[in-house]
């Protein structure tokens, strides 16, 4: 399926974003803001994986954060107990997330809609509970210390690493959705029975969607672990997942880039509001509700479409 005309605007737009991201550390000297940016990209990536699974494949999951934790802990615990080289541990972490994603995907074939989201909530809670309770092995809430990617105190290499991961991941996911897979995902989302009647292997593509997003969650997870050098189960709370869904929905569910940008936007909003002190989270909650109420179908995605000159 070849595009009829060369998408000039899109290419210009993405080049501009990538260029901006690449040049940003030159303008931002504060290591704090580089830290916030790197974390924002992390959230952006998780929000994009959520958008991939929900927006395109129609599977509303709360499990992403648990998969992030699983990959991070796999790599961290292997480091603690085996001394495998970092690269192998990263691969193991991502593979573990993919494997768990496979199981979850297979189990979830049975449920639809609300049942699926409640099932994944239970799954995420169980993961958090087990990490917490098996503290003799995982160090639980005392936190598992993890080695860093680089032996430096500078935030710059981490910034570029996360930015690179984000751009490449989104590009890969985007290409997947542009291929026949994307078509099948959407067919399943719209009407599973009809898709099946047309010869789409529903089981296979649903599970594929779970495995793919799980592995990208794993990518985000190992970055998170080796960037913060500390893992604790509190991060895997449902609240964190709620924030990530907030990012994706505010951005726009059916647009990977918008979802990722929603992640960056919300993370910045949360940090920017810190000066409000005790009322920060109150204001954040109110803003979240109001923005969503008046931009019911995402804030960034409609803007993006306008910019691209798309009609919808």
């Amino acid at each position: 399926m070849k595009a009829r005309h060369f998408p000039v605007r899109k290419i210009l737009f993405f080049s501009a974003i990538v260029l901006l991201g690449a040049l940003l550390p030159l303008a931002v000297s504060s290591s704090y803001w580089l830290h916030v940016l790197a974390m924002a990209y992390f959230y952006g990536l998780v929000a994009a994986t959520w958008s991939f699974l929900d927006g395109y494949a129609g599977q509303f999951s709360f499990g992403n954060i648990a998969l992030v934790m699983i990959a991070g802990y796999t790599s961290g615990l292997l480091g603690e107990y085996t001394g495998l080289p970092l690269l192998l541990r990263i691969v193991a972490g991502i593979a573990m997330s993919g494997l768990v994603g496979l199981v979850i995907g297979a189990l979830c074939l049975r449920f639809k809609g609300a049942y699926l989201s409640l099932f994944t909530i239970a799954f995420a809670e169980a993961v958090r509970l087990i990490i917490n309770t098996e503290h003799r092995f995982t160090r639980g809430p005392c936190g598992l210390r993890v080695d860093g990617f680089f032996d430096t105190t500078s935030q710059v290499p981490y910034y570029y690493l996360m930015f690179g991961i984000l751009v490449v991941s989104i590009f890969v996911m985007y290409r997947m959705l542009r291929s026949k897979w994307g078509l099948f995902f959407r067919a399943i989302r719209e009407d599973e029975d009809a898709a099946s009647a047309l010869g789409v292997n529903v089981v296979r593509y649903k599970i594929t969607a779970f495995v793919v997003t799980s592995m990208f969650c794993g990518v985000a997870g190992v970055f998170y672990a080796h960037f913060n050098r500390m893992l604790a189960p509190n991060f895997g709370q449902i609240t964190t997942m709620g924030l990530i869904i907030g990012m994706a929905v505010i951005g726009g569910v059916e647009n990977l880039v918008a979802a990722a940008m929603g992640g960056v936007l919300l993370q910045f909003g949360l940090e920017g509001l810190r000066d409000l002190g005790a009322w920060r989270l109150v204001v954040f909650g109110a803003l979240l509700m109001i923005v969503l109420r008046f931009a019911r179908n995402g804030l960034l995605a409609p803007l993006y479409r306008k910019l691209m000159g798309e009609e919808l």
């Binding site: 929900d54 509303f60 189990l107 049975r110 449920f111 639809k112 809609g113 609300a114 049942y115 989201s117 409640l118 099932f119 909530i121 239970a122 809670e125 169980a126 509970l129 087990i130 917490n132 309770t133 449902i238 609240t239 709620g242 869904i245 907030g246 929905v249 569910v253 005790a278 009322w279 989270l281 109150v282 954040f284 909650g285 109110a286 979240l288 509700m289 969503l292 109420r293 019911r296 179908n297």
Partner: protein
């Protein structure tokens, strides 16, 4: 290893606590059945209910603790229906492309907002409403405090009242009609928007009532609703989403399972820590073998 007395004591405790779990879950399932929305702010409705009762009884009026529950229900009824009109109505007007996502997120925003608002306003320290009645009841091996017994009894009364309301009144029947088929109900002269509003208000006020009932037993803090709300999700799926009877039985079942799990799991260092997991395991098993829940209808 353990005697029958011990098991009876544990089971009795689980049963009593289970009734309180059930009341909260019934509110959640009612909202789901009529509005088709999963309310993520349910735990915060429960928390606000507890605080309302506390302030009504101790600070403002010096009311009887039982009246505190009544006020908590009224306040939550108002809060719930207001929120429904302001934020959930667009879903049913068809103005939202992705209703499930919108609903989860907007109620999540409300939960975030309420939890932190109460922390800012009421302060970080726990508050406990005065006891309904001091002392306890001892029957054979079982000793249960009067507060717990009264709370469980009232929870049962409220749930039965709700079932009668749904079954016997016109509004109740109309709500059921909307829950089964929105469009058909609208054609037959029921205003589905009004039913949404009533259902959400009642659901919220039931969560408020359960918060007010536990306020003398467990005390309230701003994040007191986090665990109960997760537990309610489990109960609702267990009982079948949208089934009030299912939520009642599911609540009691989870109360029993948690209690007996903590009592009987051989490794005492983990038995209590995994209490939430026992419910989750049952939940997953039910989902796998009977995805529509114990009392739900096939999709």
């Amino acid at each position: 290893m353990y005697g029958a007395d011990y098991l009876i004591a544990q089971a009795a405790n689980g049963l009593v606590v289970g009734c309180l779990y059930a009341l909260m879950a019934v509110g959640l399932t009612l909202i789901f059945s009529v509005l088709k929305v999963i309310n993520f702010a349910h735990g915060e409705f429960y928390m606000v209910g507890g605080y309302t009762a506390y302030y009504m009884v101790t600070v403002l009026g010096g009311l009887h603790p039982l009246l505190g529950i009544f006020f908590a229900m009224i306040v939550l009824l108002g809060l719930g229906s207001l929120f429904e009109v302001a934020f959930l109505r667009p879903i049913h007007l068809g103005a939202v492309n992705r209703p499930a996502e919108y609903a989860i997120l907007i109620t999540f925003g409300l939960s975030f907002f309420l939890q932190n608002l109460v922390l800012s306003l009421a302060g970080p320290f726990p508050h406990r409403s005065p006891s309904f009645m001091s002392g306890g009841l001892t029957v054979g091996p079982v000793t249960i405090s009067a507060d717990r017994l009264i709370a469980a009894g009232l929870a049962l009364v409220l749930m039965i009242a709700l079932m009668l309301f749904i079954r016997a009144t016109w509004t109740g029947k109309a709500m059921r009609a909307v829950s089964q088929d929105r469009d058909a109900a609208a054609v037959s002269g029921i205003n589905p928007f009004k039913m949404n509003n009533i259902a959400f208000g009642i659901g919220a006020s039931l969560a408020g009532a359960s918060g007010a009932l536990i306020a003398p037993i467990f005390a309230v803090v701003p994040d007191v609703g986090v665990l109960p709300s997760l537990r309610s999700f489990v109960i609702v799926v267990l009982g079948g989403m949208g089934s009030v009877k299912g939520a009642l039985i599911g609540g009691v079942a989870i109360g029993l399972v948690e209690s007996l799990g903590a009592a009987l799991i051989p490794d005492p260092s983990r038995a209590l820590a995994y209490r939430e997991l026992y419910g989750l395991v049952i939940f997953v098993l039910v989902l796998l073998f009977r995805p529509q829940g114990l009392f739900g209808e096939k999709q």
